[in-house]
């Protein structure tokens, strides 16, 4: 592996390849295959119990489970591999080569993004079997959204893993981020009109500002990858899709930059 690594054309490409290899050898491919089948079976069992709307039930159940499964498995694998590299000292070996820390971060992120793309494409292919042809555009939108969501959560996982270099701490922080990002819109709405509180009181105003601030810097992941898109009833406008896509990429860039800056400052 080291030979192949040294023969690679650029450091980033080599690290990207290393990440992909690590994913493959870490049995990610097999895991993905098993997950696809397991969720398919679960959705089929659930669908069998339905009296009506069986297709809708199958689509939304599968969409929800695929989304959760990929986000958690890829996020956890990102944290585990980065922390393991630090604990085993492999990162020292890597940095002993002519590789900058920025290249390390970029290589990791690109490798992860390709893994996420493969996973999202696999889900797209499986879901295409069930989604009616006239809803395939919605399925494509859903899959792109899933990929973007995976990129955001992966970048955040990288940031916490590099910053904390501790498995439990990174997982907890990453999970807290994900839950917060998923409920952010609801929390902002509630903070904007507090019930049973004087809206001009310090707590109410502080709460509004805190959630406003979070709303500025955290993408609302609750509006990404919605299962109902696959039913063709509620499709977001193209403007909303554009904003969310751009936001996801910008946010991933922010996390990558922050992770790299922290990594530069970190004692190895």
């Amino acid at each position: 592996m080291n030979d192949r690594f040294q023969k690679s054309r650029t450091a980033i490409a080599a690290l990207t390849r290393l990440t992909l290899l690590e994913s493959w050898r870490g049995r990610s491919g097999r895991f993905l295959f098993i997950a696809l089948i397991a969720i398919h079976v679960i959705a089929s069992v659930v669908t069998e119990m339905a009296v009506t709307e069986s297709l809708e039930l199958r689509l939304t159940t599968s969409a929800f489970l695929y989304r959760m499964c990929l986000i958690f498995s890829l996020g956890v694998s990102m944290i585990a591999s980065v922390v393991r590299e630090h604990e085993s000292g492999f990162v020292h070996v890597l940095l002993a080569h002519p590789i900058s820390r920025m290249q390390y971060v970029l290589g990791r992120m690109l490798g992860y993004s390709i893994t996420a793309l493969i996973a999202a494409l696999s889900v797209l292919l499986v879901m295409a079997v069930w989604v009616p042809i006239d809803q395939w555009s919605a399925l494509l939108l859903w899959s792109i959204s899933l990929w973007l969501e995976l990129i955001v959560t992966g970048a955040v996982a990288l940031f916490f893993a590099l910053g904390l270099r501790n498995m439990v701490g990174s997982m907890v922080m990453w999970l807290a981020f994900y839950i917060l990002a998923r409920v952010l819109d609801v929390a902002r709405t509630m903070a904007a009109t507090p019930i049973g509180q004087d809206p001009t009181s310090f707590q109410a105003v502080a709460g509004q500002w805190m959630f406003q601030l979070m709303g500025w810097v955290i993408p609302p992941l609750g509006t990404f990858t919605r299962a109902e898109w696959l039913l063709g009833n509620i499709i977001p406008t193209s403007q909303t899709c554009g904003i969310l896509a751009l936001w996801a990429l910008v946010y991933a860039s922010i996390c990558v930059a922050a992770a790299a800056i922290d990594f530069y400052r970190h004692e190895i």
Binding site: R101, I254, Y264
Partner: protein, 254 residues
């Protein structure tokens, strides 16, 4: 002494955190630029997207009790507490375009029912039903549906829920100006809480005061007299107050 020790420990931790992050190699300036530009873009995108709005058209029907327990991994009380917030976040937006009149109160009461089923001691759904969903931004039929719902749920646990029936009795009297309905709620309150000492006297005697206020002094006298002779009132001040009220009624002063 202990707080000084904790402060010192905390200071040491913070010092160590930053000491470990002494620049090993300076981060390229481009990274800082990327970070700042990214954050600014994020703020712009958030502003362009606008503030999230509550939607009135997607409340739908709640899951069954068993379904909710399944979703909550059999943690019903915690789930019920979250459910209250989710229901509230959906529609408690008096300042926005979402009037309660846009809500489906049949669905809403089912959500409140689910919360009560999961957490029977919870007061939140009853508070929301009595105070929030009876506001004037809902039409009278919806408000009435909600007061009836509160009255029906009161019967399940009068000891814990009496205050919400008392509240809707006042809503019926002051807001709906529906004297018979207010009396009906107040009488239910008295009948079901007569033998519950934890319920304050004013709540148990609400129908009497409604009668007095509506100049139905004969019935009021009958009720107060019955109460005084029942032996259920033991507090001397309360006895004195009721006797004084009865005297005033008999003298035609009220």
């Amino acid at each position: 002494m202990k707080s000084n020790f904790l402060q010192a420990r905390l200071r040491e931790r913070v010092r160590l955190f930053f000491a470990k992050r002494k620049a090993q190699a300076p981060a390229p300036k481009a990274l800082w630029v990327l970070l700042v530009v990214g954050l600014l873009t994020s703020v712009i995108l958030s502003t362009v997207r606008g503030k999230p709005q509550a939607s009135a058209d997607a409340l739908g029907w709640p899951p069954s009790n068993q379904g909710a327990r399944l979703i909550a991994l059999d943690e019903p009380v915690a789930f019920a507490k979250m459910l209250n917030l989710v229901t509230q976040a959906h529609d408690v937006q008096p300042g926005l375009s979402l009037a309660y009149g846009q809500l489906n109160y049949d669905q809403l009461t089912k959500w409140l029912d689910l919360s009560l089923e999961l957490d029977p001691t919870g007061q939140y759904p009853l508070m929301a039903g009595a105070r929030l969903y009876t506001q004037n931004s809902a039409d009278l039929a919806r408000q009435r549906k909600m007061t009836d719902w509160v009255a029906a749920r009161f019967l399940d646990d009068p000891e814990r829920r009496w205050q919400w029936l008392a509240h809707v009795a006042y809503v019926a009297r002051v807001q709906f100006k529906d004297q018979p309905l207010a009396m009906q709620y107040a009488e239910t309150l008295r009948n079901k809480t007569e033998n519950i000492p934890s319920v304050p006297a004013w709540a148990r005697q609400l129908d009497i005061f409604f009668k007095i206020e509506s100049k139905d002094s004969e019935t009021a006298k009958f009720l107060i007299g019955g109460l005084l002779h029942s032996g259920k009132i033991t507090d001397p001040n309360e006895l004195r107050f009721l006797a004084h009220t009865l005297k005033e009624l008999e003298e035609g002063k009220r």
